[in-house]
Symmetry: C2
Subunit: 537 residues, 2 copies
């Protein structure tokens, strides 16, 4: 029996992702349209925040012909430097340098997959207009991707003087899509993105011209996340050998201090002792066996300092509350930020919120809004760690019953979000995360309980008041008649005095909640926050 | 505000998958161990079937030190040709040429990811011994992957004469793993692979030396799947332009006939008329606009012949039944093969089975075994289309109640399995698939109902018989006494005659089921199937 027909080939990464596009969320026309909008909005937000600009992002979807849509996304970000325009849009696995920090995306595969999907369904080129910050020109470029070679194919290149010192990027391309099915998800996505980035002005225009305009409700960016060295826990041999290849240090103590997160000379020495390695060992002279010894040792050593959460940039409870109020206009909101925590070398911070009444829709169960590094998660809710915790909390203990208009908010930031899939749609249920989400939501629930109790009291008082108001005059009249008096006494003051009975305090709510409803309207005024720290508690 | 810190870089595909290894199922030590076994077993099965050899695959996992395991997989496949050994094992996105046919994997990413995972966790090289069929030497190679450059790094290369004309491949490497957590999944995987490839001899040795040995129960391979041209439905512009670039045809009618599945001159001409394109149009002279016109037309045209399922290689009901019997040794089995069907240009065939009693474990609900192109699917069952259908079937109508020992089998083969994730763990719920799975399982259920009814009858008869046997002698004795007779008549023949009452036929089971229990024992004899067609119905 002969081996026939088995031949070998090498394919480009672009070709691989073209053949396996479902990996990046381009399974079908519905999902592709949603993913394209999402990836471009996220790239735009990053481009604005990288430059420290308050994001202004304009997304417009228009119908070209049946099932063909033109997507245009315009931002005021830092733009793309001249020399990077072609590969940045036309070469898969080319992008802004990977750093160890809180970030929306990881390697910018999504945007290019969106253009690729447009190209293979409509053959139209991508239209880029970019004004890179710090450059003198605006570039207008038409390009395609050569998928087999994984390189950009230039169609048109023009440049003009950037007289007004603009900066930003406008991308426009055509793709096949199913707007009818994708509509709900895209609008949810835009709305929730507005909620979690209240410092951004987001505008979305539907194919029929309907405009969703989310103005910014605060004029200050949260502090940017800081890139950090990797934490010694969770480091593999490949990472280690790359560090050794590049290091300028000449002894192991300095090596560990220089390239690892929160390792000082004392910790470095204590660690080296556990693996019997001299402090003066030159990292460049390490043998493969030494690398294995170090990697295993790093994992086992139990005196590393936990990762420092100051490198993260959570939204902050002020901004989270503002976002919730301006999106849902609820009767009551409580938000909280948990203390920093970590898992396997990665710091994380959980922020939670509960909103009740007002514009919160009445549903069978609690509505959950999930965010990871300021990305709203729309699909696969029931598989997410937050949904698991929401299901497990004994809500009735907090006077919360099915059918009440309640929304829960869970926002996680981390240098590495433990997504369970490449599609970044839901978060794995790690014990550490579960704990913080539970504690956060339960704190919110206690405060909501206080509010609900107070509300019930007020309602009971109102019932009492109406009883007094109804019967006191009748009693007064009849008693007057019995007493043979003509003049009926005025019962109003009496009825009033019965109402001043003080509401007793809510013993269970640790911090009696200042009920703030009515302070902000649906579109709250822009707050010029001059306070240094936007995210203080 | 200046743009600081945003620099760009290009990374190799190996580096991309190293950084995003969860895409390929290497999320953690548990999953990595499972995925490594699975990918290597599947590659071995392919290597055997490609050469037409009955697979003999020996998988051995041994503990090297705490959390370090050595995985060795040995097969009798076609081996890897000399010139391809290095890239085939050390270069991501290099593999056997992609063809349009029923296949286990798509591009052989999995195996290389397994070696990569081993390398970054243990730094050990991969050990390859391969005897390529049709070559004179056996090659023994040690190699690593240069992840940043995506190229193999040779450590050792030896060759020796292949005196015995052996063929096959042995791979051995060390990786970090969590055997305790992965054990259940790995053993399930091996057991179910044995079930769906009853023509393979699979042996798995656990780290503690426990051996799972699944001998082959049939000595004939199913016919190999045939590579086909792509179906006109579902073709995108990229695919179309690649065909045009390579074609030797010089007119559109010949072009369509030559490169598309089931397109003859009549269909080709009918199609070209709908898009107003001359039959004589030279494909090499097509403009980008023409490509768009053709691609959209291909999608809309409704007279294409459905894809031909003869290119598929389903297991066949004989082999499926054999697999079920030898694995579970049930009291009753019914299997069925649905007629060929298709979705979006891809043919598929569904095979179903129901097993009852015997070795089938008693569970709360029906146990589901799922297979896609002869791969067992182990994770994410509740999201799979088969689980959805099993939940929806009104089982009580078939006398099937919760708590009965019942297992359902659903095997799908297709030129493209609609997996919902890159991890190939569950199948999307397409309407066409749902229909065939429902019809298949319901046919099995009707037959099982017949069996259950017959079984109940037999049980009722046995109860009756025991009543006769118990009371007839007493009655006979007492009556004899009353009649003053000494000799008590023999009641045995009478009791016997009461039992010969015929069981009435099961009116609902279309084909009265030949109940075959007991024909095969736990380890069935090897069948030397000389019949040409193993999979006839």
């Amino acid at each position: 029996m002969a081996t026939t027909g088995v031949t070998f080939e090498s394919i480009s990464p672009a070709d691989f992702f073209y053949r396996n596009r479902s990996i990046a969320g381009f399974d079908n026309n519905m999902r592709a349209l949603y993913t394209a909008v999402r990836e471009l909005v996220e790239n735009s937000l990053d481009a604005c925040e990288d430059g420290g600009f308050l994001p202004t992002i304009d997304v417009k979807l228009s119908e070209v012909s049946s099932n063909w849509y033109k997507l245009r996304v315009k931002d005021n970000g830092i733009g793309v430097p001249r020399d990077h325009i072609l590969p940045a849009f036309g070469q898969i696995l080319y992008g802004s340098k990977y750093e160890h920090k809180q970030a929306r995306g990881r390697f910018g595969l999504g945007g290019k997959m969106a253009f690729l999907f447009g190209q293979i369904t409509t053959s139209e080129p991508l239209h880029v207009i970019t004004a890179p910050v710090d450059e003198d020109h605006i570039f207008e470029v038409l390009l395609r991707q050569d998928i087999e070679e994984n390189k950009p194919e230039l169609v048109k290149w023009e440049r003009r003087k950037n007289r007004d010192k603009k900066h930003g990027c406008t991308l426009e391309f055509t793709l096949e899509g199913n707007w009818r099915s994708a509509k709900r998800f895209i609008i949810d996505y835009i709305e929730q993105t507005a909620l979690i980035t209240p410092y951004a002005h987001l505008k979305f225009t539907e194919p029929d011209g309907t405009i969703h305009d989310f103005k910014r409700s605060v004029k200050k960016l949260p502090p940017p996340p800081t890139p950090v060295n990797p934490h010694p826990k969770g480091m593999d041999i490949e990472q280690l050998s790359r560090l050794i290849e590049d290091t300028k240090t000449r002894d192991m103590v300095t090596f560990l201090r220089t390239h690892f997160h929160r390792v000082g000379p004392k910790t470095a020495k204590a660690f080296l002792k556990t693996i019997n390695m001299p402090f003066s060992q030159d990292p460049r002279a390490l043998k493969p066996n030494d690398l294995v010894k170090i990697a295993r040792g790093l994992e086992v050593f139990n005196k590393w300092l936990p990762p420092d959460a100051r490198v993260l940039s959570p939204l902050g409870i002020k901004l989270l509350e503002l976002g919730i109020r301006s999106t849902l206009n609820p009767e009551f909101v409580h938000v909280t930020q948990r203390p920093p925590n970590s898992y396997g070398g990665h710091p994380f911070i959980v922020e939670c919120g509960l909103a009740y009444g007002g514009g919160v829709p009445m549903k069978e169960s609690i509505i959950i809004y999930r965010f990871a590094n300021r990305i709203p998660l729309i699909f696969d809710e029931y598989k997410d760690v937050s949904a698991k915790i929401v299901r497990a909390i004994p809500w009735s203990r907090y006077r919360i019953r099915p059918g009440m208009p309640i929304a829960a908010f869970v926002a996680v930031v981390s240098t590495k979000i433990p997504f369970k899939t490449a599609g970044k749609e839901f978060i794995a249920d790690l014990t550490e995360l579960e704990y913080d989400i539970r504690m956060g939501l339960m704190e919110c629930a206690r405060n909501l309980k206080g509010h609900l109790r107070q509300k019930e009291k007020v309602q009971r008082e109102q019932v009492r008041a109406s009883v007094y108001e109804k019967y006191l005059p009748i009693i007064a009249r009849d008693i007057s008649a019995l007493a043979g008096r003509r003049k009926i006494p005025d019962t109003k003051a009496l009825a009033q005095s019965a109402l001043t009975i003080k509401l007793d305090e809510d013993v269970e709510a640790e911090e009696p909640t200042p009920v703030e409803e009515g302070i902000l309207t649906t579109t709250p005024p822009e707050i010029d926050d001059t306070d240094e720290s936007v995210e203080e508690e």
